[in-house]
Structures are given as structure tokens and as C-alpha cells.
């Protein structure tokens, strides 16, 4: 069993024991049986590792330095443990060799206490094999995540590779397929280490480099959504590449049409719509027809198909839209709506785009995937600028799993447009602050890039 699956197993047994001690008498078979199983797996692990450590950092839970993902399977247990640690301000929970069932049950009993009672309860029990470390108000980055610049470096590297790839195609020059594969590989790794860090970078839009930025952002958003619904690494590599290449057909459209500063005429739109078909040929030229190439080809062709069988290129009901294309359909629309372009100088703010996705789910978008997408980004995605009830303006810097309307915000301005370096507030915990509405950051002279990187 991999460290990742072991971690998920530990979380699920921890959750089961915590639930059991809440419901049953401590001598009940359910409690003792679960504790026995939990103890057994911990002792087996402690034969290999010097300690078993659960760390919570922001919205992540790490098991022996491996980040555990919120996936469909085991979602409830991971969320419970995450929320419990967050609520009790536990930064890390360390279990040492020698752990026994009795201490595990006592630990679960202690975890029932509230934030103020827990530390004294924990100390009173004098645990021999359990250690707890608490967080301060400002969370410190764990050592193994200290290299915060890494995600940014990967993003910009990916952007460069995307740019080279498209430019070379535009110039009819050969492309470096291996680099693009490697980039997706790095993005998947980065995503599993710092999902929000990477998603935050997609929120920084670059007007001048829309085509490349958009391609990469769609790739990242698609990866995050696919990871959320449990795609394998191999499928993640496919969707990441397909997301980046979804608009590759645009290199076959005259550049002056792509960059036309005014609204496109109907005829011009018709030409532009052919990019899905051109995309197929570009993929063939660029990627060949390995598994990733085939997925990319399908996505390039189908990414403007709608859930209700409308969309272009015209298609009947006999060919079903691939899940990969459905994912890219949502991510493409979201990123396109939220990005300024020559003919759309003012984009939609992220929370409006989310509402549009919700409204059109079942029509343009697969309703289930749309739900997971909104779960992922929240109703106020990272980068959203919010007017708060206490006359301050906050910028969303993180999501709180299970609380899509209560993100973590950093106060960055006053309503009088004065820039301030305010606190970070977790709205899912700190109920004293309310969101009034989402606005354009420019209304308060805020540049999200200053705060998100």
C-alpha cells in the first residue's frame, strides 16, 4: 500500500473511531474493534517510520509529509479530521511507537472538547505516545513546504513552454513535445502539493498574453477538477495536456482575426469557430496519436459542445461528449469569462462567472462536473475582491473545504480605497465578518497579483 493510500486509511479509521466514541459506550465492540484496527495499522507503520504525523496547513492535511487530497472517496473523513484540527488549532498530531488502543480512545474522547478546553484536557491525560503542536494566529508554513516559490516557478515555466509551443506552431516550426509533457507532469506534482497556490496563479490574468495564459489556466483548472474527482495520474497527464492544447487550432486562424480589437462580425465568428476542427489537425501534427494525443484531439474538437448537444462543430446525439471535453468546457468558459480580452476589456468577476456556470449547468455544462468545479473554486474564487460588513475590502486568498461561501480573505483596503496590510480572516471560523458583495478589484485600486504571488 502506498503512503498515500495508507494515509487515507489512517484518516478513515481515525474518523471511524472518533465517531464510535461519540455514539457507543467505550467497552462496546464497535469502539474496541475500531481501536484495535487503528492501533494495528499504526503499529505496522511505526515499524517503518519513526513517527506518524498528521499536519494541517491551510486547507490541506499532510500525512507524513504527503498531502492528502479531498477526493470523492473518503471526503467526509478527511474533512472531519481537517475541520477538527482547524477548530482545535492543532497544527500537527504526532503518534509515536508504543501507541496502544487505550491512548487512541482517550485521544478521540479529548477531541470532543472545544477549542478552549482541549489543551488542558489533553495535558491532563498525560499521553505517552501522542504529541500535539498548536498553530499560532498566523500559520507558519511547514518546513517541507517552505519553498513557496516553487509553484510560481513551475507556473511560469509552464507558461513559457505553452508560449513557445504555440509560437512555434504559428511559425510552422517544430515543437518540443517532451517539454510540454514534462510541464504537465510538474503541474500535477505542484497541484498535489499546493492546489490553492497554483489556482491563485490562474487568477492573475495577463491581458497581453491572453492566448497563452488562457491555455495554461484551462490546463490547470482542468487538472484541479479532474484531481478532485479522482482521476489517475495517467489521466491527469492527459487532461492537463488536453487542457493546455484545447485552443491549439487557433494557430491556424489568421492572427489579425484572433487579435482583432473590435467585435467580430458573424462571418468572422464562423471562421473562428473552425478552430475546433483545426485543432484536430494541429494535435495530429504536434502530438501524434498516443493516448494523450487522442485525448487532446477529442478535447480540441469537442470543447465547444454543450451538455444539451448544442454547440459547435455541429454534432448529432450519437457521439457522446467525452468527460475530458466536458471538464475543459467548464474550465474554458470560466477562464474566458474572467479574463479581459481586446473585445472584452472588462471581464466578469470570478463570483459572477461561477453563478453563470451554475445557471448554465445542465444546458451548457455537465451539472455534476459543474457542482464539483464550484466546490473546488468556491462561490468566491481565489482572487475575488469582496466588500466586507466591517467597511473593509478583502481579497480571497484561500478556500475552506466544505464552506464554499466562507473563504479565507486578506484585508487589503478600506472602503475609502486606502490600501492596507490587514489581517487574514478565515470566514468559516470567524463568523463576525460578513461578505456584502463581490466587486472589481480595480474599484479599490487593488492588483490581485500583488497579494496572490
Amino acid at each position: 500500500m502506498s503512503i498515500y493510500s495508507t494515509g487515507k486509511n489512517i484518516i478513515s479509521l481515525f474518523y471511524a473511531l472518533e465517531k464510535a466514541v461519540q455514539v457507543y459506550d467505550l467497552r462496546n465492540d464497535v469502539v474496541t474493534g475500531t481501536a484495535k484496527k487503528f492501533g494495528h495499522i499504526l503499529r505496522t507503520l511505526l515499524n517503518i517510520y519513526p513517527q506518524v504525523e498528521l499536519v494541517r496547513y491551510r486547507e490541506y492535511v499532510f500525512f507524513n509529509k504527503q498531502r492528502l487530497r479531498f477526493e470523492i472517496d473518503g471526503y467526509a473523513s478527511l474533512q472531519f479530521i481537517h475541520d477538527k484540527m482547524k477548530q482545535l488549532r492543532i497544527r500537527s498530531l504526532i503518534i509515536l511507537p508504543g501507541i496502544n488502543e487505550e491512548e487512541l480512545i482517550l485521544l478521540c474522547l479529548a477531541l470532543k472538547k472545544n477549542r478552549d478546553e482541549f489543551p488542558s484536557e489533553f495535558n491532563a491525560k498525560r499521553f505517552a505516545y501522542v504529541r500535539i503542536e498548536y498553530t499560532d494566529a498566523e500559520e507558519e508554513t511547514p518546513d517541507f513546504l517552505a519553498d513557496g516559490q516553487r509553484v510560481k516557478r513551475i507556473y511560469f515555466k509552464a507558461l513559457k513552454v505553452t508560449k513557445n509551443l504555440m509560437n512555434n506552431l504559428w511559425k510552422n516550426q517544430s515543437v518540443d513535445v517532451k517539454s510540454s509533457k514534462r510541464v504537465v507532469h510538474s503541474l500535477v506534482n505542484a497541484l498535489s502539493q499546493d492546489e490553492f497556490g497554483l489556482l491563485a496563479l490562474t487568477a492573475i490574468k495577463n491581458f497581453d498574453e491572453y492566448t497563452y495564459n488562457h491555455s495554461l489556466n484551462v490546463g490547470i483548472l482542468a487538472l484541479a477538477l479532474a484531481q478532485r474527482i479522482g482521476f489517475s495520474k495517467k489521466s491527469l497527464a492527459k487532461i492537463g495536456t488536453a487542457g493546455i492544447l484545447h485552443d491549439i487550432g487557433k494557430v491556424s486562424i489568421p492572427r489579425d482575426l484572433i487579435y482583432k480589437p473590435t467585435r467580430l462580425s458573424e462571418q468572422e465568428w464562423d471562421i473562428l469557430k473552425h478552430h475546433s476542427e483545426y485543432g484536430v489537425k494541429q494535435i495530429i501534427k504536434t502530438r501524434g496519436l498516443d493516448e494523450t494525443g487522442i485525448t487532446s484531439l477529442i478535447v480540441a474538437y469537442q470543447h465547444h459542445w454543450n451538455y444539451d448537444f448544442s454547440g459547435y462543430p455541429f454534432h448529432g446525439k450519437e457521439t457522446l461528449q467525452s468527460t475530458f471535453a466536458k471538464i475543459v468546457r467548464i474550465c474554458d468558459s470560466y477562464d474566458a469569462m474572467t479574463t479581459a480580452r481586446i473585445y472584452q476589456p472588462v471581464p466578469y468577476i470570478p463570483s459572477i462567472a461561477i453563478r453563470v456556470i451554475w445557471k448554465l449547468s445542465g444546458q451548457c455544462f455537465d451539472p455534476l462536473l459543474a457542482k464539483v468545479f464550484i466546490q473546488l473554486l468556491g462561490l468566491y474564487p481565489i482572487g475575488s475582491c469582496l466588500e466586507m460588513s466591517d467597511s473593509f475590502v478583502g481579497l480571497v486568498i484561500g478556500q475552506n473545504e466544505g464552506y464554499p461561501t466562507q473563504p479565507t480573505v486578506k484585508i487589503v483596503a478600506t472602503m475609502q480605497k486606502d490600501s492596507i496590510d490587514g489581517p487574514i480572516i478565515d470566514l468559516s471560523v470567524d463568523k463576525g465578518h460578513k461578505i456584502i458583495r463581490a466587486v472589481y478589484p480595480q474599484q479599490y485600486n487593488i492588483n490581485p497579483a500583488d497579494h496572490l504571488t
Binding site: L289, T323, A449
Partner: protein, 510 residues
């Protein structure tokens, strides 16, 4: 310890080479990686892990070089190093399937394959590896400044909300029900490689209808190879037909090779019935050029119904010109002759009968049986009648059976004479029965009387003969099943003679 590690590496290299030569499923490959797995897991059980450092041309363990190969094309170390892999760690608990995956990746020899990426995609539980990241100095990226001037953003926001008809206070329920989760999982499960390939093929075929560019044609041709390789014959057929219809390209031509067609034996006995039908539909697109190869393939088909289906399809190919397979009628190989006869017999061409005549005296009885079967198709009862005097029982039985099916009253008198003959008693019961069946099928109005006589009166060849003839005659009367024949059997039931009574009783129970 170094000796064991060196042995592990030696076995690893050997396994990779064998897999490259024969493929992972070949028995030689299995013979190679099975001991490798055992040695490796044995080592891991004691040591917990094995950590290998990769250098440009060598692999080291504990700072000792345990593998060195400077020839780039064959050096495992070089291939790993080239793709950035610098360290591989295998830990205790390694599973057999993991090792197979690992070996598969390691044995992919082409330069285009990125070993690091392929290893990464495998998502191993007990194999960890470190890949260096390419350092890129030129990443000075300017963060954008977002400026929007002279626009009333409040009004813009309000306009968008109105335009999109959004209710910003509408609650959004993001919970996924069990059924929704299940539906998502089902959706993902359907995203198999095969499903993607089908969609890609239908997309390209759509293209082909209006775009006959080399990219599309080459891609479809490449996909055809993939389909054949993976036994995806529905799609293979679709591609061949489409290329022919829309681009006038004969894509099947390059597959009409002896080695390719004979390789079909590797799966023809094992693929599902549905896939077999797709395969048969696919091969019906082959030309007469491939006929002789298909005849050679037939002896490998173990299941009769599959062989017959294959013969049907090959006959379909041969219908315009069967000349290429006639050569097999002169072969020394019985299987080839029999299959050729079977294919020829499926053709709507009377002249085939004449071609088969010389085989009526072929030394092997199996061949003569095949000829009878072919004559049956061409309704050549007179020719079949020739075989009831054959020296081999199996041939005679086949002839009786065939004449039972065909209506050939001219045989009647010969059958009576045969039953009356002394040799009849020495025949196997099966042949005796088939003779009577043939008699019933071809008997005239006088048959019932003859059978009655056989049942009640014949005392021609002693006790033993008498008993058997009575049984067969009673059974034949039951087969005729008319009022008259039943009345005779009921009459026999009342006879005192126990053999008559018994024969009639069991015939009536039929």
C-alpha cells in the same frame, strides 16, 4: 550484499532485453522476470529497500558501480540519465504487477519515450524515483498590472448581472448525492482508452468526408494499425471502409500479408464471440490475395463453430475468384484440403463439383467426408451414393447421413439389399442405425410393409441378427410415425415373442 545486488541488476537487464525482443507476455520473458522478482523481493524482505544511483553510463548501489554500459543505444543507465532520472528506490512490499509495469516502461526503447514521465504515470506504491528539474534561467516574468480606465465598474457589474439574468442571492446546493457520486464514477469509468479511440476515429472519419488531407488519412491509417493490434475490429472495419469510400484508398492492402494473417491465430480462439463477429466482418474486406493465407490460418482454429464462420467469410472473399485456393486441393496436408473443400462448398458455383470429383478416392477418409459434405451442398446425391460402398465406416456413415437429409429414393433398393446382406450384421450399431434412417428418409410406399416383415417375420440370419433387425425396424416405424406404423408397433406389443414385444415397447417410447 553487493553480489546479490549485482545479481538483481543482471536479472533486471536480462528481463528488459527479453521483453524488448519478445514482449511481456511471452513465456521466455516470464522465465526471465519471475526469478528477477523472486530475487528482488527476497532482498527487499531482508534489507527493506534498494536504492540505485543513476549516472550517465552506470548504476551504483552504496557507492559501488554495479552496472556499466557506455553504448548509448543499449545502456539502461544512459536512457534513465537522459530523461533526468537520478535515483530509483524500491521498497519492501513490491507487488508483482508493479514490477511488470516497471519492466514494461523500462523496456520501451524508442527515443521518443520519456522514461521519467512514463514511470511517473505508473503511480507506483513501492518504487520511488527522483528526477531532476530542468533549470531555466530565463523566467523573469513580469506580473501584470490590471488597469481599467474610464469605465463605471459598478454599472458594468450591474449590467452583467441583468444581462445574465443572475440572482446573486440564489442559494447554491453543492452537495453530491450518492446517486450523483455513482454517476460521476460511471462517467469516469467509461473514459477508457478504447472509448477515446472510438470517438477519435469517428471524429476523423467525419473530417475525411470533407477533408482528404494527408494528416487525416495518415492518422486514420495509424489508428487502423492500433485497432488491429488491439483487436478493435469494429473500428478497424470502419476506418478501412471510410478510407475507401471517401478517399479511394485501399488501406487493407498492407495487411494482406501471410505473417499478419497467420498471427490472427493468437487470438481467434480466445476473443469474445462479439469481437469474433467484428473480426469476421473486418476480414470480409480482404481481397482474394489473402485467400491462401486464411486457408493456412484455418487449421489453428480450434472451435468448430468459429472455423465454420471463418470459412463462410473466406468463401465470401473467394466468390469472385476462387482460383488462388485450388492449389491446396493438390496439397499433402489433409487440413488444408479439408478447409479448401469447405470454402469451395460455400461458393455458388456448380463447376466446383467437377473439381471435387478427383478427391472421391482420396486416401484419407476425412477428405472423402469433406467431399460428401460439399456434395450435399451442391445436392449431388448420386455422387454421394457412390460412398455407401466406401471401405471406411466413417465415410459410409457420412454418406448415409447426407442421403438421409437429401431426398434420393433411388438409393432405396440398394439399402434394402445392404440390410439383407450378410455383412450388415458385422457393422457397428451406429452405421446400422444410419442405414435405417436413410431407408426411412428415402423409402417409398412399400416401406412400412417391408419394415413390418422385418419386425415380425424375418428369420434369415440367426438369432442375433433377428433381434437387431427387429429393434431397428421398430425404431424406423416409430420414426415414420403414421397411424399405420403405430398400429404395427401396438400390434407388436401384444406379441408373445419377447424380442418383438421389447422392440415395439421401446420404439413407442421414442
Amino acid at each position: 550484499m553487493e553480489i546479490i545486488v549485482q545479481d538483481i541488476i543482471r536479472q533486471l537487464i536480462k528481463s528488459i532485453k527479453v521483453i524488448q525482443l519478445y514482449g511481456i507476455n511471452h513465456p521466455s520473458a516470464r522465465q526471465s522476470y519471475q526469478p528477477f522478482f523472486e530475487t528482488l523481493t527476497g532482498f527487499l524482505k531482508n534489507s527493506g529497500q534498494i536504492e540505485l544511483a543513476i549516472e550517465q553510463y552506470s548504476i551504483s548501489h552504496d557507492n559501488q558501480v554495479i552496472y556499466q554500459e557506455r553504448e548509448k543505444d543499449i545502456s539502461i543507465a544512459f536512457r534513465l540519465f537522459r530523461d533526468g532520472v537520478r535515483n530509483i528506490k524500491i521498497t519492501d512490499g513490491l507487488e508483482f504487477d508493479e514490477m511488470i509495469l516497471f519492466l514494461e516502461v523500462m523496456s520501451q526503447a524508442t527515443r521518443e519515450q520519456d522514461i521519467a514521465l512514463n514511470l511517473w504515470e505508473c503511480n507506483f506504491s513501492h518504487i520511488d524515483f527522483y528526477v531532476i528539474e530542468e533549470e531555466d534561467e530565463d523566467l523573469n516574468y513580469e506580473l501584470p498590472v490590471q488597469e481599467i480606465k474610464n469605465i463605471d465598474l459598478n454599472a458594468k457589474l450591474a449590467n452583467i448581472i441583468v444581462k445574465e439574468k443572475l440572482d446573486m442571492n440564489e442559494p447554491i446546493d453543492l452537495t453530491l448525492s450518492e446517486a450523483e457520486l455513482e454517476s460521476l464514477k460511471t462517467q469516469m469509468a467509461h473514459e477508457s482508452r478504447e472509448a477515446s479511440l472510438s470517438v477519435a476515429i469517428s471524429t476523423l472519419i467525419n473530417f475525411l468526408q470533407h477533408d482528404k488531407s494527408p494528416e487525416i488519412i495518415d492518422s486514420l491509417t495509424e489508428m487502423l494499425a492500433q485497432c488491429i493490434d488491439q483487436h478493435e475490429f469494429y473500428n478497424a472495419r470502419l476506418i478501412v471502409v471510410s478510407l475507401n469510400e471517401y478517399a479511394k484508398i485501399n488501406a487493407i492492402d498492407k495487411y494482406e500479408k501471410e505473417n499478419i494473417i497467420l498471427d490472427f491465430k493468437n487470438f481467434i480462439n480466445t476473443i469474445s464471440d462479439e469481437n469474433l463477429n467484428q473480426f469476421l466482418a473486418f476480414i470480409s474486406l480482404f481481397s482474394k490475395k489473402s485467400l491462401s493465407y486464411f486457408i493456412r490460418l484455418m487449421p489453428s482454429v480450434q472451435r468448430t463453430e468459429r472455423l465454420e464462420k471463418l470459412q463462410d467469410n473466406v468463401a465470401y472473399i473467394a466468390q469472385s475468384d476462387y482460383q488462388p485456393i485450388l492449389i491446396f486441393l493438390q496439397s499433402n496436408n489433409t487440413d488444408l484440403i479439408i478447409n479448401t473443400i469447405a470454402v469451395l462448398s460455400r461458393l455458388d458455383a456448380e463447376e466446383i463439383v467437377g473439381l471435387l470429383d478427383p478427391l472421391c478416392d482420396y486416401p484419407r477418409p476425412e477428405v472423402r467426408c469433406s467431399v460428401i459434405q460439399a456434395f450435399e451442398v451442391f445436392k449431388q446425391a448420386a455422387r454421394i451414393a457412390h460412398f455407401i460402398g466406401d471401405e471406411e465406416a466413417m465415410v459410409r456413415i457420412k454418406a448415409f447421413q447426407t442421403l438421409t437429409v437429401l431426398n434420393y429414393p433411388a438409393i432405396y433398393n440398394r439399402l434394402i439389399a445392404r440390410i439383407k446382406s450378410r455383412v450388415f450384421i458385422d457393422l457397428e450399431l451406429t452405421e446400422q442405425k444410419e442405414t435405417f434412417n436413410c431407408l426411412v428418409a428415402n423409402g417409398g410406399q412399400g416401406l412400412i410393409k417391408i419394415l413390418k416383415k422385418m419386425l415380425f417375420r424375418w428369420v434369415l440370419f440367426g438369432r442375433k441378427r433377428y433381434r437387431i433387425t427387429r429393434k431397428l425396424a421398430a425404431s424406423a416405424l416409430a420414426d415414420i410415425n403414421t397411424d399405420e406404423s403405430r398400429a404395427i408397433l401396438e400390434q407388436g406389443m401384444k406379441k408373445r415373442n419377447p424380442t418383438v414385444k421389447q422392440a415395439c415397447e421401446s420404439a413407442l417410447k421414442q
